[in-house]
Symmetry: C2
Subunit: 359 residues, 2 copies
């Protein structure tokens, strides 16, 4: 069955309906057997408080490229309902043989709110996430949201999320007001992640306000191109900014088959200038040691094979990017990937269990 | 012999010396035999007028990310001498068994000058280029420079460069004052390239002034990351902007193994939104039909193998990026690439002869 996903895209008025999500790739066929253990690692949810606050921002005149998405939504949009923790989520996981979702608050998290509102929405989201994980034992894990715009409170919430709530890592939606985590003001956040020994997933959002003239056309600000440009830049800033010399055990995860960084590693090494970026090692060495990538949104086998050869299968985690992508398409793609069964198992669940300490 | 290229980088004060360029990769060994025909397709030169005008700009307070490069140069810099049409160029080509260079005025061409100065420097550069090609028969081909900031004069110069000077195509150094060739004001340029049946090589320059806060640190504005971000964006703007629906026979060349676009094609297709970018075909189809890539600056075999599988060997042209990269390293890498001899010949010279109409 061919699914025309060009009509199922971020920001589209033809946004995902429950029917489309349920039907995609598995109409008139039995549920995918669960002989394989599958953990999906970049799966989104929203909370009533985040939705309300984002829809309020969408009513503002802020020209942020991120808000295009939310301006196409209302509280009744199918996408909002798919983003809820309950609803069809578990049924659709079962239908596609997905054992577990690693959940995270949908982009841009709380990073567009003022500090107080952000802190409150983050705490509420992390509480709800922990409760949901407890309620459906073994079916979910979760990445904690925090407020980069208020680093001190962020660190406090990161510690609470691991030690009190038992969450599995952190999520940060790329830039915060046009700034990146290599900035010294954010180092306490990186220090906390390293000390807590949990990864930070750097998830896409649209390029910052300054880049509107370059990326604010043709949907370039979304997944077709701008998302990877934004996160790829963020990853390179962390590497060249010396973050991993300072925090050598810090683990970063990026999605979408590595946001083009794996393809560029050779040139990053040969054109790295130590006078501009006085780091101790070659850029690729940090990427190989400190980064994991996920397959979210990429079902093409050639980039997967490339990344296995370049990074090793132990650095790659499977992901769907639900509800923005279809569970079944991601399952079919990974089931059919021309790779070894050992690599498939590593990518489907073993790496996720290790990296997120899922027991 | 291992060459530490991290000390030989754009903008470095340890810039290329003649000795380094001559010695790289071939110390104490005979010249590479010319049993293979090799045409290098992204090879830079400067003219006295361009150098003088760029060094004058470097003395201004313009915060352009491109000027960092020129601010590290003087008229006596080794790099300026390597960029001259004469000097060691031909001897170094012979030493590495390079039959021909396809020359182009070094980045950012004439795109940072006001229109009148730009037109004058472009005409002079194209005249000198044509003369050089005539003088060393069979050793050089050339891409004509034009002024996007003055589209009418650009078209006139493009026509002169092909019909009167016999040049082989065109070069455009990505954005012009933060604008891209998909903008309707530049369509006469694209129309002329299509009518003249010659490709436009979109060469890197640094991201535009608006992106300084994002890219203006750690050398990110140069080849380590920003160059590909800039040209990749330009390529996607052309595709999503419908340029190839309007000019279906237009041929675009991009360097550096495709500036990460080949790695992203799958996701570009699945996340293309026809409401945002109402083009007729999938983004990847335009890339496969209207684009060529070159290997400039990339000596890693894995991206090459990926691109042969994804695009086909007939879409890939060999390049060095002299004098910013070493001839011998690029030759050694392509000589040793684990690909078929037929593919190697296509990449080394057959595609270049066809695309640039080299006879």
């Amino acid at each position: 069955m061919e699914v025309d996903r060009r009509h199922f895209v971020v920001g589209s008025s033809l946004a995902l309906s429950g029917l489309a999500q349920a039907g995609a790739g598995n109409a008139a066929r039995p549920a995918t057997p669960t002989t394989r253990r599958r953990i999906a690692t970049e799966e989104a949810f929203t909370t009533p408080a985040q939705t309300k606050a984002m829809l309020a921002l969408a009513d503002s005149s802020w020209p942020s490229l991120d808000l295009g998405l939310w301006r196409s939504r209302t509280i009744d949009s199918p996408m909002i309902s798919h983003l809820s923790l309950e609803g069809d989520r578990l049924r659709l996981m079962d239908q596609s043989g997905i054992a577990m979702q690693v959940l995270s608050l949908t982009s841009p998290g709380v990073q567009m709110f003022d500090a107080d509102l952000g802190v409150a929405i983050a705490e509420d989201a992390n509480d709800r996430l922990a409760e949901h994980i407890r309620k459906y034992k073994g079916r979910y894990a979760g990445l904690a949201t925090f407020t980069p715009q208020a680093p001190k409170q962020a660190v406090k919430e990161m510690e609470r999320a691991i030690s009190r709530l038992g969450l599995n890592g952190f999520i940060c939606n790329s830039h915060t007001n046009g700034e990146y985590l290599d900035d010294a003001k954010y180092w306490p956040i990186l220090e906390a992640a390293e000390a807590l020994d949990r990864p930070i997933y750097i998830h896409p959002r649209s390029p910052s306000d300054a880049m509107t003239s370059a990326y604010g056309k043709y949907g370039l600000e979304f997944a077709v191109w701008g998302f990877q440009a934004e996160v790829g830049l963020h990853a390179m800033r962390l590497i060249l900014g010396g973050v991993f010399d300072r925090f050598p055990r810090l683990k970063i995860i990026i999605g979408h088959m590595g946001e083009n960084v794996p393809f560029h590693l050779g040139r990053s090494d040969t054109r790295h200038n130590r006078e501009h970026a006085p780091i101790k090692r070659k850029p690729s060495e940090y990427f190989l040691d400190n980064f994991y990538i996920t397959t979210s949104g990429v079902t093409d086998h050639l980039p997967l094979k490339y990344c296995i050869e370049k990074l090793g299968a132990d650095k790659i985690l499977w992901a769907v990017d639900y509800p923005y992508e279809f569970n079944q398409i991601a399952v079919d793609a990974m089931d059919a990937a021309p790779i070894s069964e050992a690599d498939r198992e590593a990518i489907y669940f073993r790496n996720a269990e290790r990296v997120f300490r899922i027991t």
